[in-house]
């Protein structure tokens, strides 16, 4: 089947996918704060209220626990809600419904009920929004059995993954990022359904593996290009799915390259990288020529002042430096 590609933004890809799914299945509806009349606080749902009406695009009061739980109940009866929470930070208000209810109902009630729910929100900091508005806590959700957690890094992935999430019968946490909404990329036309639970080698290489996800992928690929100029061939793995985690793809890459650096936006201790590192340590032990390194955020409530914020957040320069350190520790240039 030949597909044409268009270059659109991540935001457009999400908007188009929501539209397509609303059209395809009348059980699909959107629910969240300011998604209708306001067209969405980040304009992801722009135009949808006008075209589909208030029954399919539901504006809610400020009540995350209430409307997330409502979406769960609706899903129990067979509807397919797509919940928008304004940012990851506010999902904490609803965490009991997400973790204790959505994630557990299918198992706890003897597989008699499904919860075909999508909860989407952007994580990330860097816009001087200060500590409570800048968090990357996706690892909390990645830790919970019964949830699926997806993190698309390009517009094409956003489209394919959101489609897959909506059609999946389990509760899916869909992690977006404020810094990704405006990025552009080629998106194939027609139905695209991603495979959940698989990572991808986005740039093949032979000398070192960088593992990243979501916004971090932009930096990782950029840095890999720089190193290409310097004669270093870096393989970049996009996790794509935080739960389930594709351990085999990660380990296969490191078995090939013998060096690994993880680039993550979340904080260092107990973060996503900790899991990747442990996985590599066990699954690719005999192939490591240097310890696995992580480049992650400093463990502080993120400050407002720009220089402090920049210092705390992991940057391309940090990644470059750690890659160099890893290469040097194996005397790569000899």
């Amino acid at each position: 089947m030949s597909t044409t590609n268009r270059v659109i933004t991540y935001r457009q890809a999400l908007n188009e996918t929501l539209r397509a799914e609303l059209e395809r299945d009348e059980n699909v509806f959107l629910i969240g704060e300011e998604i209708g009349v306001f067209d969405g606080s980040y304009k992801i749902t722009a135009g949808l209220l006008a075209d589909f009406g208030p029954k399919r695009v539901v504006d809610t009061p400020i009540a995350e626990e209430g409307f997330v739980g409502t979406a769960i109940g609706a899903a129990m009866l067979g509807l397919r809600p797509v919940v928008e929470i304004m940012t990851l930070n506010f999902s904490l208000v609803a965490i009991d419904q997400i973790v204790n209810h959505a994630a557990k109902m299918h198992a706890m009630f003897g597989q008699q009920v499904k919860v075909p729910l999508v909860i989407r929100f952007p994580g990330g900091g860097g816009q001087q929004l200060a500590a409570t508005h800048s968090q990357n806590l996706e690892v909390w959700y990645a830790h919970i059995p019964g949830l699926k957690v997806l993190a698309p890094s390009t517009p094409a992935e956003a489209k394919a993954m959101l489609t897959a999430a909506i059609r999946d019968d389990d509760p899916v946490i869909f992690l977006e990022n404020l810094a990704l909404y405006n990025i552009k990329g080629e998106v194939p036309d027609g139905e695209q359904i991603a495979e959940i639970g698989k990572a991808a080698v986005v740039k093949p290489g032979s000398d070192l593996t960088i593992v990243s996800y979501s916004r971090g992928m932009v930096t990782a690929l950029h840095v890999a290009e720089e190193f290409e100029e310097r004669g270093v061939s870096i393989e970049v793995v996009d996790l794509r799915s935080l739960r389930p985690l594709d351990r085999e793809t990660i380990c296969a890459s490191v078995r090939k390259t013998s060096r690994a650096v993880i680039f993550e936006d979340d904080m260092l201790s107990y973060g996503i990288g900790a899991e990747i590192s442990a996985t590599i340590g066990e699954g690719a032990f005999d192939y490591l020529d240097a310890p696995v390194r992580r480049v992650a955020a400093s463990e502080v409530p993120l400050p407002y002042a720009k220089p402090l914020e920049l210092a705390a957040m992991p940057s391309a320069a940090d990644l470059v430096r750690v890659v160099e350190e890893t290469l040097d520790s194996t005397r790569f240039m000899k």
Binding site: D286, L288, R331, F332
Partner: protein
């Protein structure tokens, strides 16, 4: 007849103490009546009867601690009152004042329990076993897992390998070197991976070095350096070049060098001719910022810093470490740094940082007696200076023949980034600085 057992009264309870009998032997009991009080880990609970009838036997004394499920009483129709008590299951018991109820024999039990305790003393700790049974001193060896695996696969004795990784860690490169030193033909079964060879989908099958021995030539696998050099030089071929040559009168330069070295001798340092050349290039680049550039496909990048690459020949191949900010370093600093970089280049311990960021390079084959040559550009730099040997030449000065030391310098230029006039002006100034070398000091 029904047994009343110690009930499980909380999710954490494992045993309970029957603190007080509320019904005595012979009392009628209705379903739901409280027979006794039970002290658990959390609270004092009621022991309810699930049967009705008559309490025929109390099987434990007040104050007895009883595990869950053990019988504590018998409820029946009343006919079995006064018969022998059922034997009590082993338990720790504390004897208090016994009421009418038959007493379990706590005294004996306690003794035997104690006796058991004294008998089952811990064995003296076994002598500590050696933890790691590797070759002698191996627990002090630091090795990357990959190095360990390759050593195993290639039968390398790691105690003989010197680790060149951080803190003396043995890394893959060290094993690769040991394997190469052993000689390629001996390993038939193990997979030999030459250092730096591109690994394929499984972990690195290298080229089998013994393959061509029948034809009389030996295939030498490429190390990383040669591979990269080869690739870059091929790229360099694609660059449109032109060349400019100049002859430099180095009399004053040689004299100045001698004088400078006399001064530095006290500090145990010296500078070479090449150090002067590096400095001269840096100085000239400061005066010609449009030569300190790189071609960037659709634009020209003008570099703020002046980083001069210095070609160093090593056994492994050609390396070009970089003297950063050469324009602001003194001659002696440049000299010291070049010595250090060359040493590291030969040892193979150059860091990636030391190899990158160059904006112009210099290659000197004078020590090999080469008069002149053209060097290949080191992309993405825009120029490279090839320096030949200083030789005595016969010149005419004011009509009289004199011996003058001269040196040929040839500049290769990327025509996309620089045109002839710009390059020529630069080269003229380099010559000028070398011929009036005191300028270097200002």
């Amino acid at each position: 007849m029904a047994e009343v057992t110690m009930p499980r009264l909380s999710d954490t309870m494992e045993e309970g103490e029957l603190t007080q009998w509320l019904k005595q032997v012979g009392d009628p009991v209705g379903k739901g009546d409280v027979l006794a009080l039970i002290e658990t880990d959390k609270a004092t609970m009621d022991l309810e009867s699930f049967e009705s009838g008559v309490l025929e036997k109390q099987l434990v004394a007040e104050g007895t601690v009883v595990p869950i499920g053990q019988a504590v009483a018998i409820i029946g129709d009343g006919s079995s009152i006064g018969t022998e008590p059922e034997p009590v299951v082993e338990s720790e018991s504390i004897a208090e004042d016994a009421p009418d109820a038959p007493e379990s024999p706590p005294g004996e039990k306690l003794d035997s329990a104690e006796g058991e305790k004294t008998e089952s003393k811990l064995e003296p700790a076994a002598p500590e076993s050696t933890t790691v049974e590797t070759s002698s001193g191996a627990d002090k060896l630091r090795m990357s897992p990959l190095a360990r695996k390759l050593a195993r696969d290639n039968n390398i004795d790691v105690s003989a390998v010197k680790g060149t990784g951080p803190q003396g860690r043995i890394i893959r490169a060290d094993i690769d070197a040991a394997v190469e030193a052993k000689g390629p033909a001996r390993n038939t079964t193990a997979t030999v991976t030459a250092p730096g060879a591109e690994p394929e989908s499984d972990s690195g099958k290298g080229i089998d070095p013994g393959a061509d021995s029948t034809s009389g030539s030996e295939t030498v696998p490429l190390n990383r350096i040669r591979k990269v050099t080869a690739r870059r030089l091929s790229e360099s071929q694609a660059v449109p070049h032109f060349f400019l040559t100049n002859v430099v009168d180095v009399e004053r330069l040689l004299a100045l060098r001698a004088e400078v070295n006399r001064g530095l001798a006290g500090r145990g340092m010296k500078v070479s001719l090449n150090d002067f050349i590096i400095k001269a290039i840096a100085t000239a680049l400061r005066q010609h910022p449009d030569v300190n550039v790189s071609w960037n496909d659709d634009s020209i990048l003008r570099h703020r810093r002046i980083n001069v690459g210095v070609a160093v020949a090593t056994d492994a191949g050609l390396l070009v470490p970089v003297v950063a900010d050469a324009d602001s370093k003194t001659l002696s600093e440049i000299g010291a740094q070049v010595v250090e970089l060359a040493g590291k280049a030969r040892d193979g311990t150059l860091s990636l940082d030391q190899m990158s960021g160059g904006t112009f390079s210099v290659s000197n084959l004078g020590m090999f007696g080469i008069d002149e040559f053209t060097a290949m550009i080191n992309p993405p730099e825009a120029g490279i200076l090839a320096v030949g040997a200083a030789s005595p030449m016969l010149m005419l000065r004011e009509g009289k023949p004199v011996e003058v030391s001269q040196m040929k310098i040839t500049m290769t230029v990327d025509h996309r980034a620089l045109d002839g006039a710009t390059a020529a002006a630069f080269l003229r100034d380099v010559k000028g600085i070398l011929e009036e070398p005191l300028q270097i000091l200002v």
